[in-house]
Symmetry: C2
């Protein structure tokens, strides 16, 4: 039986993507070869990479606006150090918003490169909200934020206006909602939430901000080198890029980010409504900053945990336990999660209510 | 029809690996979940990573000898910069053997970190042989070499004796032959030749050489941090690690590296014998340094190219054209290549002889 997979990442992808990917492992494009054994320089794979790069820009509304999309390796964790390497001047400084665990990890790497100003932090409240009302120094080389905090279940709704380049880690909500993406200068996202399997990282960068900070950058960490090589500076993560393309094609076929966002809104509304209605549960994050991707919630009475856990496991749900930093539960309802699966969870929450 | 895949990388893997991998994309370990959607922290995947790490050491005869195996992202190209970052002292120096394109790329990155002595080079002869008779400075922080040169078809048979740590890029011949691997201190290999699909890199490192060079290393570039995190410092390339494990299991089931080497010897002997016998062909590399993984050869008369190309394509062979730096042909006969496929190529070479 197929599970209702609420895993925070790697996470659910569309069933048709799994089926096409499985077939390509045996015989890709009817070539008589597995996708795992073809040269990344083959015509067939170059076409995959080119389409994935252009479709990523198209879905974000960034075509023809001076941006390049790359599919690199190393995850967002490698982007944490590539951002300052590529953008922070020697003796320059960067501004960071500390909204959670991954923001903190990004800040740690930036500090190795120079002055790193934390403009605001919600750490004291265990990151249950997005800090607001801060000032970004106008002489910063860039401002860095995390659009969605997977662990804490918070999401930035309004991005700050600033005159400095904006860098954003969108690992857990890329392609899930419409934004004016042209307000960002560098976006990166590990594929393994809304876009594909672990093993590739989407980087979307405004070309004009690169090659200006005067640092000597090792080749594999240099965004400009990857752009020149059309995202093939070295052997890319072929299969992960292919599965990402399949997922991007699925988003486009659904009607693009606009259509997917409507479904995401409906799923989040359904689940938060139950959390707010059901006297047994409470949300973990401040209401106005609630994430539409990672819904964190707690039992008011921890004694109900055993009964609740038995119920959702029985219903074929997996991946629901919360991160240890928050406790309770976390329902990750990424793009590929059907609303029917969310209804299963809501029904389980109701069943608990009538049981206890 | 399944092709005879001579691609230099990504390259052929065992058919049973493709079949198991394809199945796991639909339903991994009968869990009701795809391998692409499971958490890397799940019990099932932690078991995969643990077994892959210990099996890699076992197959190399390095268990219990102070080594750790890691499956990282970024390919050998990222290892090119991680080697100096982790091993070269500030104001230290490293010694490199320049035996081909990838060695040159490694040297380029090392130079960003400090004095980089090239102890010998075969560049003047278009890398048609492995340089010998050089001296490794006894005060170098390490000596770096490339065990097999994929592009030029040469392979180191005797590694130099030295008192300094030895770093070796074994991307294209790892697990293909027996060596005393305990003579190496750091081995790295992109998976996509003998070990798995593109997207993960095996690193085998003697723990005692790390954390001694005094540099501040960004987290994702720090081998010691990856060891402490048991190769899960960030989300690993889950699927690529799983397929690598399947391939390592296949090697073990075959009888380990010793048994695989015998098959590789037989395949290489069969093909080189035909190259030397057939008056239409000649080998590209000096005989004593010929690679048993990448067999480079040329037509004596380029006018025969059209006829030869038609013949091998007709026979279901793919991936045979040589790299532009050498021209001619390159037959990559990695572990998973059956001797029957090599015989098909030999038969085609004979057919050309009787035709022209």
């Amino acid at each position: 039986m197929k599970k209702h997979n609420y895993s925070a990442g790697p996470s659910i992808l569309p069933q048709e993507v799994f089926e096409k990917a499985s077939q390509a492992v045996l015989n890709f494009n009817n070539s008589g070869l597995s996708i795992l054994e073809i040269s990344h320089r083959s015509k067939d794979f170059v076409a995959v990479m080119d389409e994935a790069r252009s479709l990523a820009l198209e879905l974000l509304g960034l075509e023809g606006k001076g941006y390049q999309a790359l599919f690199l390796q190393g995850g967002a964790s490698t982007a944490f150090l590539m951002a300052p390497y590529n953008l922070m001047k020697e003796n320059g400084k960067a501004a960071y918003l500390d909204s959670g665990t991954w923001a903190t990890a990004a800040i740690k790497e930036a500090k190795l490169f120079g002055e790193t100003v934390v403009v605001a932090s919600s750490k004291e409240e265990n990151y249950n909200h997005i800090p607001k009302g801060y000032t970004i120094p106008s002489d910063a080389d860039y401002f860095h934020c995390t659009s969605n905090n997977t662990i804490f279940g918070t999401q930035i709704k309004d991005f700050p206006a600033t005159n400095v380049p904006v860098v954003c880690d969108m690992s857990s909500d890329i392609f899930s909602r419409q934004l004016d993406f042209s307000k960002f200068d560098l976006i990166y996202a590990g594929a393994q939430k809304n876009m594909g399997p672990a093993g590739t990282t989407l980087v979307v960068v405004k070309e004009e901000i690169l090659e200006k900070n005067g640092r000597t950058i090792p080749s594999m960490l240099d965004y400009a080198k990857h752009i020149k090589a059309e995202s093939m500076y070295n052997t890319p993560s072929v299969f992960a890029v292919y599965v990402s393309l399949l997922t991007l094609q699925w988003i486009k076929a659904k009607g693009g980010v606009e259509a997917v966002e409507k479904l995401n809104d409906a799923k989040a509304a359904l689940l938060y409504a139950e959390i707010d209605r059901n006297p047994l549960f409470k949300g973990a994050a401040v209401v106005e900053d609630r994430s539409k991707m990672n819904v964190t919630f707690l039992l008011n009475n921890p004694d109900h945990a055993a009964a609740f856990d038995a119920l959702w496991k029985e219903a074929g749900i997996s991946g629901l336990p919360g991160h240890r930093s928050v406790g309770g539960y976390r329902a990750s309802i990424y793009n590929a999660m059907p609303i029917e699966s969310v209804q299963v969870l809501v029904d389980v929450m109701k069943a608990l209510e009538s049981k206890v």
